[in-house]
């Protein structure tokens, strides 16, 4: 285990170091090793702050830092939510970016640093990327004649990257300047600045970290040991859920708190304005329009209230305001964690998504025959 493995735990060599160490993650978790605390911090900071850097870096040694990465992956897998994977991978990648961009320009010879060539090789880009030979200032005639090898430390300002690799890593939503149509493309290579190449490497790290997450088949004993950590993290995640892609309507799969609310509405019981808002926000988030809300509530949610609320909730492609989490609903007196449903997910949308995913053959409520 080298310090560089701890700083870049997603590298092949770090994975190898974990394997070679012979450490058994099950034992580690069972013995409440400090590694678990650091792993929880990794994921917690990813969810809250967009980084996985420790707030107290001097508290952790190389071993704890390195081993916390595979344990963090287990935690993210147990969270079993797309948002968790997304945030965690992005945070690991941003942390790596901060580290490697500093490493690339440093010349202090510290052994825990990495050079650009090593990182390029890690993502199979070494043969697909070359530094552009420096051109004399003022001369902007074609520089493509000269072929150099990728310089690894400072050196060139420009690089040429294979178009396949460029397209695999670049995201056109980063801005028009990332669109292929706006790039210099010649002989199958795309010209990028040093900073752009570093951003592409960050995207490579992100994809590497996200690959295979969440993985299935976490050992039951390990899952049981990590229950408290996972439950805490799930609460954090719940506060941060955005819109959803769900478009199937199956009221029986709603979380018990909202199902209860819907039943009360249908039975003409009056509910608090907060409760009505929570219910409508949830229904809007899963894509119901005004007419469908009226049908579902047996006409008890009146056109007026529904219209106004939906108007506030909607934006172009979904809902502007995600519905409140179960924790918030508890404050409204709506959610009492009936049937311990928060152990499935701490947010009504996550709960519903999971239930839908696990259910076989759900017929959309709108397509069910009326009886």
């Amino acid at each position: 285990m080298e310090p560089v493995d701890a700083r870049y735990p997603f590298l092949g060599r770090a994975r190898e170091a974990v394997r070679a160490s012979g450490v058994d993650l099950t034992t580690l978790v069972a013995t409440a090793d400090p590694v678990v605390d650091r792993a929880r911090e990794r994921v917690e900071r990813a969810l809250l702050d967009g980084t996985t850097e420790s707030e107290t870096p001097h508290d952790w040694d190389t071993r704890e830092e390195l081993l916390s990465y595979p344990v963090a992956r287990i935690l993210v897998s147990l969270l079993d939510a797309d948002a968790a994977v997304e945030k965690y991978a992005t945070a690991e990648a941003q942390t790596a970016h901060t580290r490697f961009t500093s490493d690339f320009v440093s010349s202090d010879g510290r052994r825990d640093r990495i050079d650009r060539q090593t990182l390029l090789a890690e993502f199979d880009l070494a043969a697909d990327c070359r530094a552009e030979p420096a051109r004399p200032t003022g001369d902007s005639t074609s520089s493509r004649a000269g072929r150099g090898t990728a310089s690894t430390r400072r050196g060139s300002d420009w690089f040429w990257l294979g178009v396949g690799s460029y397209l695999s890593l670049a995201d056109p939503t980063w801005g028009t300047e990332w669109r292929l149509v706006n790039r210099e493309l010649a002989d199958g290579e795309v010209r990028v600045t040093r900073e752009e190449l570093d951003k592409l490497l960050e995207a490579g790290v992100r994809a590497r970290v996200a690959a295979g997450l969440p993985f299935e088949g976490v050992d039951d004993a390990v899952a049981a040991e990590l229950e408290r950590e996972v439950s805490d993290l799930r609460e954090l995640l719940a506060e941060r859920t955005g819109t959803t892609e769900v478009d199937t309507l199956a009221p029986e799969l709603f979380p018990p708190c909202l199902r209860g609310l819907l039943d009360r509405v249908r039975q003409e019981e009056s509910i608090s304005p907060q409760a009505r808002f929570a219910l409508l926000a949830f229904l809007a988030a899963i894509g119901l329009d005004q007419q469908e809300v009226l049908m579902l509530s047996h006409g008890e949610l009146t056109v007026d209230t529904v219209d106004k609320t939906l108007e506030v909730l909607r934006d172009g492609d979904g809902t502007q305001y995600p519905p409140p989490s179960c924790r918030t609903l508890e404050a409204y007196g709506v959610c009492e964690n009936t049937d311990d449903h928060r152990s499935v997910a701490g947010h009504p949308l996550d709960y519903y998504e999971k239930k839908l995913r696990r259910a076989d053959d759900v017929t959309d409520w709108r397509e069910r025959e009326t009886t």
């Binding site: 003022g138 902007s140 178009v163 028009t176 669109r179 706006n182 210099e184 010649a186 010209r191």
Partner: protein, 396 residues
């Protein structure tokens, strides 16, 4: 299509495959196969979700299968799968897909399908193919060996790119390639960057090392050459034909192309007030001339079925003819895509929809017409008319 016609075409298509060397694509066993038989009704039923093992036992037996079935159309998937014969896409297990470009006369802005004749459409399509190949070779760096160019057998061309670097790209990445080829989303800023001059001062320069910037720069230099060869009044008049160029700007540009040619060669745009205007006007022209209206859904679909090169197109009887890169300029689909097998004899057909026919004539214009009724024609003309539904097979 009457039974006699159907049986005749099935039989003769089978005969074609008996004599033709149809080469299966690379990794043929990893692809999904599909075909459409000649059937009686109006509708067509595609038999798909088949592996090569399902239909023929393996790549070597493909010719036997085609000879036996005489299918109207034959397709294979651009994608390679773990289990290509599985019926659901999820179970197929997608591995990779060739990058496919489809040029169809229907999508060319220069062609009006209502008025253009078939030969005119094909000619326009080949011009677009030449532009596409230029982009694929010079910009994308695809070589002869990584591309298969094919006449579609009807109204266009296909290019199959099998370069490993692009085979695993997802749909969004392929859309980026389509937009590049079509010049969609090109921003002026994408063509220009700031570079320091000898004094370290940043200057706006055309990005001339590749991409659309390089193409605009090439046009700029050749346009400048043309202007310099003209008399000054003629050059000024020519300049004012450009969008956004009035008398003053024309003067300024003319000075630039005559006095600052070296700076122009370097792509420096801070030479006189007209340089940016000129670049803007020429960009539009370059994109109009050199972008290619490939059919987007074909390129971005990772599971598309595409016609088998060397097979027959069942709506024309033409061969889906592979074309070598250096033979594209010479290729004449109405001559070169006629199956040799259908050249030797004459057949009796009953023409039901008379009119001009694009094959078999001399000048291939409207002068080659058929009138209604039973007559003897050269076989490939007969196959064309039968396949188009403009005639039925008559007794020999």
């Amino acid at each position: 299509m009457e039974r006699r016609t159907r049986e005749y075409l099935t039989g003769r298509f089978g005969d074609y495959y008996r004599g033709a060397a149809v080469t299966p694509p690379p990794a043929a066993s990893d692809r999904e196969w599909g075909h459409i038989p000649f059937t009686s009704g109006e509708g067509t039923t595609m038999v798909r979700h088949q592996s090569l093992l399902d239909i023929a036992g393996g790549p070597a037996d493909l010719p036997d299968f085609l000879a036996r079935e005489g299918p109207r159309h034959v397709y294979f998937s651009a994608a390679r799968y773990d289990d290509p014969g599985s019926r659901s896409m999820a179970e197929k297990g997608w591995q990779s897909a060739d990058l496919i470009f489809d040029l169809d006369a229907d999508h060319l802005p220069s062609v009006d399908p209502e008025t253009a004749s078939y030969p005119e459409m094909l000619a326009a399509c080949k011009e677009a193919l030449v532009d596409l190949l230029d982009l694929l070779q010079r910009d994308f760096g695809f070589g002869d060996e990584e591309m298969q160019i094919v006449f579609s057998g009807s109204r266009g061309y296909h290019v199959h790119v099998r370069d490993e670097s692009v085979r695993t790209l997802d749909s969004d990445a392929r859309r980026e390639i389509v937009d590049y080829v079509r010049g969609i989303g090109l921003a002026e800023d994408g063509l220009i960057e700031s570079r320091p001059n000898e004094n370290g001062v940043l200057q706006k320069h055309l990005r001339l090392d590749g991409g659309w910037g390089r193409r605009v720069h090439e046009e700029l230099l050749s346009y400048a050459d043309e202007l310099r060869e003209m008399s000054q009044p003629a050059a000024l008049e020519r300049l004012q034909e450009l969008d956004g160029v009035g008398e003053t700007t024309a003067d300024s540009i003319h000075d630039t192309v005559t006095d600052d040619l070296e700076q122009l060669r370097r792509g420096n745009l801070e030479i006189g007030s007209g340089a940016r205007t000129l670049v803007r006007a020429l960009t539009e022209r370059v994109v109009d001339d050199q972008s290619v209206p490939v059919d987007e859904p074909v390129t971005t679909d990772l599971r598309r079925l595409i016609r088998l090169p060397g097979s027959l197109h069942g709506d024309t009887g033409f061969v889906v003819e592979p074309i070598e890169l250096d033979a594209v300029a010479e290729f004449d689909p109405l001559e070169d895509a006629v199956a040799e097998r259908f050249r030797g004899r004459r057949v009796m057909i009953d023409v039901t929809d008379p009119g001009p026919v694009p094959v078999g004539g001399d000048g291939r214009d409207d002068s080659f017409r058929f009138s209604e009724g039973t007559q003897s024609v050269r076989e490939f003309v007969g196959v064309y008319l039968l396949a188009r539904g403009r005639a039925e097979k008559a007794a020999e």
